[in-house]
């Protein structure tokens, strides 16, 4: 990724209300070369989708106010319905996955996941061949 200039780096919108998870995920994504903007609730995340044109959205299911499902639904019915969305949840229940898939989620990961798996998924969704570091 070092060969890419700043503007070519994929932009990741991270929507996570748990500050320590947001810190860790933001760190590993930036270290990998992504540009990351972090939001702790669905409403500001949707504004950021319109304003910053991210390449990938990493979206927690449990958020204050609008849930991750609400945000995903609004993205899919908005001006960028094709925007790749990776959903994160600590609830591995089948109905959550089914609901996310019905709404058109691109990928679905259950916590706890490895940093490597997350980076690999974001890289794949961003359309770049980025070798993930271990961890």
């Amino acid at each position: 990724m070092t060969q890419l200039d700043q503007s070519a780096r994929p932009r990741v919108l991270l929507v996570e209300d748990e500050p320590n998870i947001a810190t860790a995920l933001s760190f590993i994504l930036q270290r990998q070369g992504f540009r990351v903007s972090t939001h702790s609730d669905g409403a500001t995340a949707l504004e950021a989708v319109a304003r910053h044109a991210p390449d990938v959205v990493v979206l927690d299911v449990m958020l204050p106010g609008k849930s991750g499902f609400d945000v995903l639904g609004e993205i899919r019915s908005g001006p960028r319905p094709e925007l790749p969305v990776l959903m994160l949840t600590a609830k591995g229940q089948a109905k959550d996955r089914e609901r996310a898939e019905a709404l058109g989620v691109s990928r679905f990961m259950t916590k706890p996941f490895s940093n490597a798996d997350l980076l690999s998924a974001v890289a794949e969704l961003s359309g770049l061949d980025i070798p993930a570091r271990p961890g």
Binding site: I21, T23, I28, R31, M62, F69, K111
Partner: protein
């Protein structure tokens, strides 16, 4: 004569022969007897022993002992079931008797382990079921897994980034310290909860009311059959419930729902947006309006309690958890309405996650069955996610056990969630 059936000598000869795919006439010729005589032996109608048993054993490529020793049929059943559970081919399953005769000690060990595994599977299924249907435990596990996620991610960063900046290092160490303590507290709370839940009870068994609650949740409390055919549909709807008590209880709930549906049919509901729009059609019965909107609209939640505050109907809605066990939040207007029977309340509620909800609640006495009886009110609350409404909101929770509000004056018991 030996025990008749698969455990008898004749039965074992037949079993072994079939397992090898040998025709009866062929084995009889090998053993120097007629096919009809072998048939009598295999069906325990002729005794066998001595040299003939030796010849048959030799032809079947087993020892005499394998054919003559008795094997406990129940042991064989367990072994065959264990093999079938592991998808052993049928020709392997037929050799269970031979295995048990040759290695009786090991056969008993395998059978005991298979039975223990089956019992553990039942326990896991019961716990998994509890996890799926108990919001208190599900919330606690959600919190626990979220904390595990951040600990794992942060630890991986520290392990794989030797060149990390000192400021980041301090920050991650502090986060790791806080999250690991949160993790320990959360794990302790969940274990303690499971211990309490399992103490003295067989958690695999559900009470009739739990069975009915599962049945209603499985249909999201909405029954098109009742809307179309009324109470006539009830027998077939409840037929799948295991116990007569559960069927009777479910029928009672559905009968009330069918009566509600007849009084306020779907075509009238379809024209209304707010509960107020339906009061005239419901002849002022506010509880009827709330129940009908609650059971027919998947985006709304419904809670009904009796005069003691016990929740007798819970229809959860995404974002507003309802406790399966125990009472709800004392600040819900459901309980406020109980103290003012007949007065329909509207309250704006704020859940701990910041989401706001509109709650309509009303309490009304059940119809009197005799004069001078003590009135028994029931309170009904409809939950609708607030979209346009603004203004002050009452801070509430899903119930004390899973509520993170530490400074709540109404708290009656500690939360299982880490603080």
């Amino acid at each position: 004569m030996a025990t008749k059936g698969r455990g008898s000598t004749g039965g074992r000869i037949r079993e072994r022969r079939l397992a090898l795919g040998i025709r009866q006439a062929h084995l009889a010729a090998e053993a120097g007897i007629s096919a009809s005589y072998l048939n009598l032996i295999e069906h325990d109608r002729r005794p066998i022993g001595g040299a003939l048993l030796g010849r048959i054993a030799e032809a079947l490529d087993v020892s005499r002992t394998m054919l003559s020793a008795d094997v406990d049929e129940s042991l064989l059943d367990v072994l065959r079931a264990a093999g079938a559970a592991q998808n052993l081919p049928s020709e392997e399953l037929t050799s269970a008797a031979e295995f048990a005769r040759r290695y009786p000690g090991w056969a008993r060990v395998i059978a005991a382990q298979a039975e223990r595994l089956a019992a553990q599977a039942d326990t896991i299924e019961a716990l998994s079921d509890r996890l799926s249907h108990d919001p208190a435990l599900a919330e606690a596990m959600h919190e626990l897994l979220s904390t595990v996620a951040v600990v794992r991610s942060t630890a991986s960063i520290l392990a794989s980034t030797p060149e990390i900046d000192a400021n980041w290092l301090r920050r991650f160490h502090a986060n790791l310290d806080a999250d690991s303590r949160r993790l320990a507290d959360g794990a302790e709370a969940v274990v303690s909860y499971l211990d309490r839940a399992g103490a003295g009870n067989d958690e695999a068994r559900l009470t009739p009311s739990e069975t009915v609650a599962q049945f209603l949740d499985g249909r999201d409390h909405a029954f098109a059959e009742l809307e179309a055919r009324g109470a006539d549909a009830i027998p077939e709807l409840v037929a799948g419930l295991a116990s007569p008590e559960a069927r009777a209880l479910a029928a009672e709930v559905l009968t009330a729902d069918a009566e509600d549906a007849a009084r306020l049919p779907l075509e009238i509901l379809a024209e209304a947006e707010q509960p107020d729009d339906l009061l005239e059609a419901a002849r002022g019965d506010a509880a009827l309006v709330l129940r009908r909107l609650g059971v027919t609209d998947p985006a709304r939640g419904l809670v009904v309690c009796d005069a003691s505050g016990a929740l007798i109907r819970r229809k959860a809605v995404a974002g507003f958890s309802l406790p399966v066990i125990g009472a709800g939040c004392p600040l819900w207007p459901l309980y406020e309405a109980l103290s003012q029977p007949g007065r329909a309340l509207v309250r704006r509620l704020e859940m701990p996650d910041g989401a706001t909800w509109i709650a309509h609640a009303v309490a009304a006495p059940l119809p009197q069955t005799r004069f001078d009886a003590v009135p028994t009110p029931r309170s009904t609350m409809l939950l609708t996610r607030a979209v346009r409404e603004t203004g002050p909101a009452v801070p509430v929770g899903p119930g004390c056990r899973v509520c993170p509000r530490g400074d709540c004056a109404a708290r009656r018991e500690p939360s299982v969630l880490p603080g």
